[in-house]
């Protein structure tokens, strides 16, 4: 199962390359696709998600940051243990090893906006900073996806369409159809 996830992630990571125009570089780190989502009314917390790649030779650590919508920000890890959802602050910060890509996503690592002073509004990016041990402080802007979105791609029809064609095992048709001009 680990192998399977790793392969899918590898392929998906490579596929995500076109987003590079909006990548943020900070020293040896590349931060891509920061996003969050709409929260229910009255919610006091929200999760922020992004991908961090370390192109350097030394490990770095995401140790904190800030966001305009919240009083505090912490780096968290969520996990499932025997059907129990557990969430805690990542002790000592989230390590990004040299050459590694760490994905902060729902159900896993995330930055947690605590004590919200404003609610995320769909389509209105949220500015914030991330603090790294070595790369220092970086300003980023999170895209805001709809309530309950499982990825920032929730609204990207093209991607989902292609994914479905692939899952149907209809790769031939895809070649002939959408990419017939080859």
């Amino acid at each position: 199962m680990k192998m399977f996830s790793a392969l899918v992630m590898l392929a998906l990571t490579a596929l995500a390359v076109p987003a590079s125009a909006r990548d943020i570089t900070a020293g040896d780190l590349v931060i891509s696709n920061p996003w969050t989502r709409v929260t229910p009314p009255g919610a006091k917390v929200a999760g922020g998600f992004l991908t961090i790649t370390n192109n350097g030779k030394e490990a770095d650590r995401l140790i904190g940051g800030s966001a305009v919508i919240s009083h505090r920000l912490e780096v968290h890890e969520m996990s499932m243990e025997g059907g129990i959802m557990k969430m805690q602050e990542v002790a000592g910060g989230l390590e990004i090893k040299p050459g590694a890509t760490v994905v902060l996503k729902p159900g896993s690592y995330h930055v947690m906006f605590l004590d919200l002073k404003a609610s995320p509004v769909e389509g209105t990016p949220i500015t914030g900073t991330l603090k790294f041990e070595k790369a220092g402080e970086v300003t980023i802007a999170y895209d805001v996806a709809p309530l309950g979105a499982k990825s920032s791609e929730a609204g990207h029809e093209g991607m989902q369409h292609e994914m479905k064609s692939g899952a149907d095992g209809n790769m031939k048709k895809m070649h002939g159809g959408q990419h017939g001009h080859h």
Binding site: A11, L15, P40, G42, A43, I84, M87, L147, G148, G166
Partner: protein, 207 residues
């Protein structure tokens, strides 16, 4: 242009890889699902899950579990200061109710707060306004909630923040599907595909 073309080709090859891996993974997932199913049937002796209770609804009125008799129900526990799994599950349950169409009135859906000190009825009402209004939001005194959670074998605990000024909560994330006789028949996990969850709910409603 040349780069775009090259990229397209690379992308096609990669999607091919995704498809192949997905097929291989599908077989593995089937095995996992079966294992999960077995785990489900081994869950705490189904007959002893749940006990009669009274709690406070998000509209401030009291709710007696006797009103659930004769109809299947889905019950899950969470808290509104939850960034991920609780809003996601509430949204999924809203979608399932929508999918049920006219059959939705054959099912009760209950969301019980495990954080009653912060989740007052008023706050619960505001929070739940983002979801299907047929979802019954419940809270109560600390003792009331503890008793209900215990009878449903729900585990929850406060996790204080580093400086002690705040806390978050760990809690059982599963949705329990109870039949019209109040017996546990299945569980939903947010990790399983939406179709799987919907099928379980359809089966539950079909009796």
């Amino acid at each position: 242009m040349a780069t775009t073309e090259t990229f397209r080709k690379v992308r096609l090859v990669l999607w091919g890889a995704v498809a192949a891996v997905a097929l291989a993974g599908g077989a593995l997932l089937l095995g996992e699902a079966q294992r999960a199913q077995q785990a489900g049937s081994n869950l705490p002796a189904a007959a002893t899950i749940g006990a009669p209770f009274t709690l406070t609804r998000s509209d401030g009125t009291r709710f007696d579990s006797q009103s659930l008799a004769g109809k299947p129900y889905a019950i899950f526990f969470g808290f509104t200061n939850c960034p991920d799994i609780c809003p996601t599950t509430l949204l999924e349950m809203s979608n399932h109710l929508k999918q049920l169409g006219a059959n939705a009135d054959k099912l009760n859906v209950l969301f019980i707060s495990v954080d009653p000190s912060r989740d007052t009825p008023e706050h619960l009402k505001l929070y739940l306004s983002a979801f299907d209004d047929r979802i019954i939001g419940l809270t109560g005194t600390t003792d009331e909630v503890a008793a209900v959670a215990k009878s449903y074998r729900i585990v929850y605990e406060k996790v204080p923040s580093k400086d002690g000024s705040d806390y978050t909560m760990n809690h059982t994330a599963s949705v329990y599907l109870m039949n019209a006789n109040g017996r546990l028949v299945s569980t939903l996990s947010f990790q399983e595909p939406e179709e799987t969850r919907q099928r379980k709910i359809d089966n539950l409603v079909a009796g």
